[in-house]
């Protein structure tokens, strides 16, 4: 030791822990409509203010304001509201199904439903989404069959993934929804490669990839952004910043120092920071990035600023690490409520109609769940065990054939 002052190691801590009052005073919420909307052909170097702002369309009076208003029809807005509502009601139902022992695991998207719903509407049917496990609203917006979701969650005889995957790790190629996996971040680069392939073939399809803010710390994040930038891949790379990675707050992923959108700057990619609880803002920003990609202007990084209102999963108790009323104090509100109020303001919707919608969707989900339960819940029904040995390779090799026989199937 010399006589220099001792160094100190900095460990970021969230502003509030259990038993303390939630504190979001560090979060700056700019007014809706304030952010400029650059032309999609604008050079990245001219857009370096964007990652530090927050693109917002819906104001405090539930009006759509400013240059990012995507000017959607009521029909489109209602489609979005329906997908968000469906996701929420479905999540509740399946969370309870887990507590009743009907499945081993579940993860809710509570508070983040606007993201997948809006993006599923922006992206084309031939485009491909490389989602995280918290993107159910994409499938809901594209009307993926509820029965197939339930069957997958129950791993029963009709499970589209033949009992091989953990609940909610869906794969739905026809719905532009890439195969999920439990390990985080490892599909971010696949989105880039898929987009490079489309460009290589001279096609017109684009890709959209997702990670959470916690996963930006993985090497996959850096790799994907590097490749996307180098080859100007027609891809949209999203970071859902929901403030929490299981129990670690976003500061542990680097949020104290800068925004996640701003990480794009170092790669020479435009970075947009978007109110993730504002359906219209998510829609508009994704539309902008999609147009940029489609016109060979390259990738965009979008940070979707939101809040994970539920626990991380059915295996998590968030009251152990954050105030239990933190979600209710989140300054950007609730995506469902905000979109609903906007539609009410437009006189295109009412509380009664929302109530009727919830009832209708609840019935549909109940019916699907009941039908799936009729096939069987976890352990009560499963695909033929032969399925365990299939699809390891295109054709099984001798080991797999022998082992299947060894099991007697």
């Amino acid at each position: 030791m010399t006589n220099r002052p001792p160094l100190s190691l900095h460990i970021p801590e969230p502003p509030a822990r259990p038993g303390e009052a939630p504190d979001f005073s560090h979060i700056v919420v700019p007014l809706a409509g304030e952010m400029r909307r650059p032309d999609v052909t604008e050079a990245e170097s001219a857009m370096r203010d964007m990652p530090y702002g927050l693109i917002r369309v819906l104001d405090d009076n539930h009006q759509a304001v400013g240059p990012w208003d995507p000017r959607l029809t009521s029909k489109a807005l209602l489609h979005g509201l329906r997908a968000i509502t469906l996701t929420r009601v479905f999540d509740d139902r399946m969370f309870r199904a887990h507590r009743q022992g009907k499945t081993s695991f579940y993860m809710k998207s509570l508070g983040e439903e606007a993201i997948g719903a809006a993006q599923a509407m922006v992206m084309g049917r031939e485009d491909m989404c490389f989602p995280t496990y918290r993107m159910l609203s994409w499938l809901m917006a594209r009307e993926y069959p509820l029965l197939d979701l339930c069957n997958q969650i129950y791993s029963n005889e009709r499970d589209p993934l033949r009992g091989r995957q953990l609940p909610i790790l869906y794969s739905a190629r026809d719905y532009g929804f890439y195969s999920l996996s439990g390990n985080v971040g490892s599909r971010y680069g696949h989105a880039v490669g898929w987009a490079m392939a489309s460009a290589f073939k001279g096609d017109d399809k684009i890709a959209i990839g997702h990670v959470g803010e916690g996963t930006t710390a993985e090497g996959d994040f850096h790799e994907a952004l590097t490749f996307a930038a180098v080859y100007r891949a027609p891809v949209i790379l999203c970071v859902t910043n929901n403030q929490w990675a299981i129990s670690s707050y976003s500061g542990i992923a680097g949020a104290e120092q800068t925004t996640f959108a701003a990480r794009a700057l170092a790669y020479g990619i435009p970075g947009l920071r978007v109110d993730g609880n504002d359906f219209l803002a998510v829609y508009a920003a994704t539309e902008w990035a999609a147009e940029r990609a489609r016109t060979n202007n390259g990738p965009t990084l979008i940070e979707l600023f939101t809040y994970r209102a539920s626990g991380h999963s059915t295996s998590d108790d968030p009251t152990r690490y954050r105030p239990d009323d933190e979600a209710s104090k989140w300054p950007l509100g609730d995506p469902l409520e905000r979109l609903k109020q906007h539609l009410i303001t437009l006189r295109a919707w009412s509380e009664d109609q929302q109530e009727a919608l919830v009832a209708e969707l609840t019935d549909a989900i109940k019916a699907a769940a009941k039908q799936a339960e009729g096939v069987g819940t976890l352990g009560q029904s499963k695909p033929n065990v032969r399925e365990m040995f299939e699809d390891v390779f295109k054709e099984p090799d001798w080991r797999i054939v022998e082992q299947r026989r060894e099991l007697g199937v």
Partner: protein
């Protein structure tokens, strides 16, 4: 028939695929304009265009990840990892993604990618230019692993690998890129010009995955080897005069179990030779398979001649490398063993 060394044979395979399959493309570090640090992709960019054969950032994880995405799209990417020692940053992609994509998606998605990588020692490559990582891939369900030992097989196996709809790790023994090497480092270098397998058809042909080759028939002992060790074993057999049956496995996964079992049942003895370190090496799996299937035919314990359980050293190259002396010793030991 044209004569080629292994580099030219591999280059010929890649050239044929680029010319005939518009869904193939090649990328990796230094493979584009420069033609690769071992010249395997030489001339391909000039001939087929920059989008068919291009340079990649120094990011093995990124190279394999983007290849998987391309494969899911419908392309057949062929990527290069400059040295097998540097494949580990991509290990998560290979293990967690490439190998499982088909299984976990019920064949909605799959990735017909080929990952080429020079491997093996004998070149004073030290710790990070000499390793033989085949065992860490053999243990991964859903990956195929191929290792040629001569120019003819290199071209035919590479063409077969590229045409596979499953992901293939294609390990190229860099010590024998230019000529066969039998471990006699103090003797003059040989080239493929003298070797019958240096005759390589100019056009398209395949050597199917999962088919071993009997390099030398014999009655006294079966030798299982692949890559450079095929040549080392051949030298040891010649020098000891043991009438050994030498089998070049050619692919680790899928493995040609029938050829192995048939041979060991005939000879009653088995010596396994690989460069990779012994403990947990692929020789352990081979030994178990032979023991399980040929137990009542075995007349001696199965022997393994492998790299030592140390990192691959620099100055001790020839103390580490399983050369013909060590292989010969094991052969004699095995055939002289009396139950």
């Amino acid at each position: 028939m044209p004569r080629m060394n292994m580099i030219q044979a591999l280059n010929s395979a890649l050239d044929i695929k680029l010319a005939t399959d518009p869904d193939t493309l090649i990328f990796g570090e230094d493979v584009g304009y420069f033609g690769g640090v071992f010249r395997v992709t030489e001339g391909l960019q000039q001939k087929h265009g920059v989008t068919r054969c291009f340079d990649a950032p120094i990011s093995e994880g990124g190279i394999v990840a983007t290849a998987i995405g391309m494969g899911a799209y419908g392309l057949r990417p062929i990527v290069e990892i400059q040295f097998a020692d540097y494949i580990l940053p991509a290990y998560d992609q290979l293990v967690s993604e490439a190998s499982r994509l088909r299984y976990r998606s019920n064949s909605e998605f799959w990735c017909p990618i080929t990952v080429r990588s020079p491997y093996g020692g004998g070149i004073f490559g030290g710790q990070t230019h000499s390793q033989s990582p085949e065992a860490i891939f053999a243990h991964v369900t859903g990956l195929k692993t191929v290792i040629p030992s001569n120019p003819y097989d290199a071209k035919g196996l590479l063409l077969a690998s590229i045409e596979e709809d499953d992901p293939v790790i294609f390990l190229e023994p860099k010590r024998i890129y230019n000529g066969p090497f039998d471990g006699h480092y103090d003797k003059p270098l040989k080239t493929w010009a003298e070797h019958p397998a240096g005759e390589v058809p100019a056009g398209h042909y395949t050597v199917p995955l999962g088919s071993a080759a009997i390099v030398r028939p014999g009655k006294e002992v079966t030798v299982l080897a692949y890559g450079t060790m095929v040549h080392v074993s051949a030298a040891a057999i010649k020098e000891t005069g043991v009438d050994a049956e030498l089998i070049d496995l050619r692919s680790i996964v899928p493995l040609d179990i029938d050829t192995i079992v048939e041979s060991v049942k005939k000879t009653g003895r088995c010596v396994i030779v690989h460069e990779a370190s012994r403990y947990g090496g692929f020789g352990g799996e081979l030994s178990a398979l032979v023991q399980e299937r040929c137990f009542y035919h075995l007349r001696a314990p199965i022997e393994r001649v492998c790299g030592w359980d140390t990192p691959y050293p620099h100055a001790f190259e020839w103390d580490y490398f399983p050369g013909p002396v060590r292989v010969g010793k094991a052969l004699r030991h095995c055939v002289e063993a009396v139950a």
